[in-house]
Amino acid sequence: MTIPVASAVTVSVIIIGAFTLASFNTTRALNVGGSDDFIIKIRGLQWWWDVEYPGSSPEQRFQTANEIHIPVGRNVRFQLEGIDVIHSFWVPSLAGKQDLIPGRPNELSVRAERPGVYRGQCAEFCGMQHAHMAFFVIADEPSVFEQWLRAQRALAAPSSDAEVLAGQQVFLSKSCAACHMIRGTSATGTTGPDLTHVGGRQYIAAGLLETTRGSLAAWIADPQTLKPGNNMPMVPLSSEELRSVSAYLASLK
């Protein structure tokens, strides 16, 4: 039986060797990235994604959360920063994953060839709500992307609607502003997601609920039932206040 066994071992060695070489070549081929990359900074926190567009000058800089727009056909470099525990940035249809590790900045380069909505999810166990830490990467045609950038850079648009204004009052007078920022108002908190254009995002609470006035109200009414253990406390509001503040946030497109 020596010859069959020896042949089988030899064939295995050749196959394994081939796989190893193929793996090396694929690693090299996937090495996308260069100096013309579009930079986006991602910070992973329990249990949401802070997204910063630095731009090429300070006036261009803005922050958003959980929804990332990128231009089609261009290399995008995500600079990944861990803030609390280890998270992992993974949008399967665009690229492999990369961890966000406190103390060790990482990078991930992607390039979307087609416009579309690409879902991502945290892929490193990060505690209580690891299961509900999704995000969306939306690839837009370059002209649409430029439009989006301009809209995001703008401050929160003032409204003339009575209910919306009442809602803004609620937002600024209750504890919301302690954690959240809405550029153009006195709300400058940075512990939680930037809400300047929250109404225009497809989902809230890191992919938990589709953004509607109703879901915003539900979330604010009791975040702990919907995402138990997350870091947003329940802020007691009357039903009147809840209606108006949800109208306000839904209007922030």
Partner: protein, 637 residues
């Protein structure tokens, strides 16, 4: 001095057979009652305890798995909240790895190795007793913590910073870290015993090229334990220090490093899976030989494969860290080594297949489990070669693809051989056969149930389902397969239930087995089933690798040993030439007291660093009691 001694003591040649057996029994026996149970140093009693306890932990871990599957059968299910689920999946992994998989292999070795090498007891029998109590205490610590809602909830791998002082409140992570200390102390102690037993207590004539392959696999495994477990001791101790007294090993703000944890953990963690797999390899070699009715093909190649696997196992750990941002060139080295370890595994599979091909296979239950192992482990190995590739792994890391992979290699590679081994050695341990009929039922239920449960997980991973999530949303395409998987898990559960029922019933009412029901070649089958407390009335002398096939009518033995004290033969490492008649310790209650003192110290140290100072005093007292000579004949020299 020799002649004086000889005229005073009693030698086996002074007695006729029944008197000899009675004399040996009175010296070697474990008395009935509580003191006997606590003070025994008989490797067979301790080994059985270890095996039963490990299987009890298997059952508990299985219950946790069923809970997980029920929760995941539906999207946004409400059976388990996130906190309870996170404790359950952490407990499932921790329990299976530290309280079942490693201990059960050690347990089989504790029972079998002394019998297989032809000696009367394991080396350092009191240490053996101590190590069982430590194992039990560690398991009790973990499960009691879990029952009190203080169970660890940070995954079995407890990555920092999640498990560190800032993000893991309370004592949950400390329970995990200290349980590690208990189980590592236990495993290290057993490994030392096994190495010394195999090196120095083999039957005369059992040179290194004649030892059974299971013995080789346990020798190699024990060295892997000795070299790998210090890493997790350092890791878990550093974690406790960070949490208890404010050290900064893993705190990047003060010069520590988050990845340091992963390097230390996986430097242990990868060899750990080979600590589980290599004994199973030894079991497969044993079963293949017996049930192919011929010696295994390629003894030397199989030994080399064991050693190569063990060496390579230390060079793979970074493949658990492919997405942490380490330099790609370095990572690629670990791709090469992770792929390379498939080669010795392949060598082993081909040798076993050649043995079966050239033999006259007897398809009893143990062989069914071996064939099930080959099928399942090879699939696991294929998915392993896939995840060894960095680009592939960046997609499937931390998804259900990996969950599928490691269950295939662990259940396929370790549990299937273990179940076959239980069917095989149960008659030796209990004197009764298990049921061939129930054996077939359990095999097929487990084999089919396992594949139906875990194969779809490869697909779920490729569909993007991450690991360690307590639920998933309805708009994900994962519901159908999850529901299917959960349903099939019940088939797997049924298979294990049949196995447990068979084992429990057969222990009392199985068919009496006789000395060698399988007509197997190794020394443990030369003595009665179950063996007497002294294993062999005369120490065997071995003239080949398959003693009972080479000497079918009589067993060659040596005489001239004392019957008034516990004695065994010490032989040289290479050629196994007899060097001395060494004494073997009697029953002693000190290992039990030492284990109590050590457990108190370790559990106390979860809450206060001073425990290490004050708690070590009772430990020192117990150890002095342990080693203080008692003036028994065993102290003669």
């Amino acid at each position: 001095m020799m002649d004086d001694a000889k005229s005073k003591d009693q030698r086996d040649s002074d007695f006729d057979r029944p008197a000899l057996e009675a004399g040996l029994a009175s010296i070697w026996k474990t008395p009935a009652g509580l003191w006997g149970a606590l003070a025994t140093v008989d490797h067979k009693i301790i080994g059985q305890r270890y095996i039963v306890t490990a299987f009890a932990f298997l059952a508990l871990g299985g219950v946790l798995a069923v809970l997980i599957r029920i929760q995941l059968a539906q999207p946004e299910a409400r059976l388990l909240g996130p906190d309870r689920y996170n404790q359950i999946f952490t407990m499932h992994g921790t329990n299976m790895m530290f309280l079942f998989a490693v201990p059960v292999m050690e347990a089989m070795a504790v029972y079998l190795i002394p019998l297989m090498v032809g000696t009367r007891n394991i080396a350092f029998p009191r240490l053996n007793a101590f190590s069982y109590w430590m194992f039990l205490a560690g398991g009790a610590l973990l499960w009691i913590a879990f029952a009190l809602d203080m169970g660890p909830d940070v995954g079995w791998f407890a990555y920092v910073p999640l498990s560190g002082p800032q993000y893991a409140a309370g004592k949950r992570a400390d329970m995990w870290a200290q349980m590690i200390t208990f189980t590592e102390v236990s495993a290290l102690a057993v490994s030392v015993e096994i190495v010394v037993t195999i090196f120095k207590q083999r039957a005369p004539g059992m040179s290194l090229d004649r030892i059974p392959l299971f013995v080789w696999s346990m020798l190699v495994t024990s060295f892997v334990v000795i070299l790998a477990m210090p890493a997790i001791m350092i890791a878990s101790t550093s974690l406790i220090l960070d949490r208890l007294i404010g050290t900064h090993f893993f705190n990047p703000a003060e010069g520590g490093d988050v990845l340091l944890w992963q390097h230390l953990f996986w430097f242990f963690g990868h060899p750990e899976v080979y600590i589980i797999f290599l004994p199973a390899v030894g079991m497969v070699s044993t079963l293949v030989a017996t049930f192919a009715r011929r010696p295994v093909f390629g003894y030397l190649a199989l030994v080399m494969a064991l050693i190569a696997t063990a060496v390579l196992a230390f060079g793979l750990w970074v493949h658990h860290m492919f997405v942490t941002g380490l330099p790609r060139l370095g990572e690629s080295f670990f791709t090469a080594s992770s792929m390379a370890i498939a080669i010795p595994a392949g060598v082993q599979i081909f040798c076993w297949l050649a043995t079966l091909w050239d033999g006259k296979p007897v398809f009893k239950t143990p062989l069914l489990f071996v064939i099930g192992f080959m099928f399942t482990f090879v699939i696991g190995g294929l998915s392993g070669v896939m995840v060894a590739s960095v680009p592939f792994d960046t997609q499937v890391h931390d998804t259900y693809f990996v969950v599928a992979h490691f269950h295939y290699v662990l259940i396929g590679g370790a549990v299937f051989p273990l179940l076959g081994a239980v069917y095989y050695w149960f008659p030796k341990i209990t004197g009764r056969m298990m049921s061939e009929r129930l054996g077939r039922w359990s095999f097929w239920l487990i084999f089919v149930g396992f594949n139906l449960t875990f194969f779809p997980m490869h697909i779920l991973g490729l569909q993007g389902m991450p690991r360690r999530i307590y639920t998933y949303q309805p708009d994900m395409p994962w519901h159908g397969l999850n529901l299917f998987v959960s349903g099939c898990a019940l088939i797997l559960t049924a298979g294990f239930l049949v196995f447990f029922v068979d084992a429990i019933r057969s222990a009392r009412r199985g068919e009496p087995a006789g000395d060698n029901p399988w007509d197997a070649p190794t020394l443990e089958w030369a003595t009665s089933s179950p063996p007497p407390s002294y294993n062999f009335p005369f120490i065997p002398v071995v003239e080949g690798s398959n003693p009972l096939w080479e000497q079918r009518e009589t067993l060659a033995v040596g005489g001239g040993m004392r019957v008034d004290r516990r004695e065994l033969i010490i032989t040289t490492v290479g050629a196994a030439e007899a060097e001395a008649r060494e004494a073997s310790p009697r029953n002693s209650i000190w290992p039990f007291w030492t284990a109590i003192a050590t457990s108190v110290m370790l559990i106390w140290s979860i809450f206060s660093p001073w425990a290490v100072v004050w708690g070590s005093i009772p430990v020192a007292i117990a150890l002095i009691g342990w080693f203080w000579p008692e003036g028994t004949p065993e102290d003669d020299s």
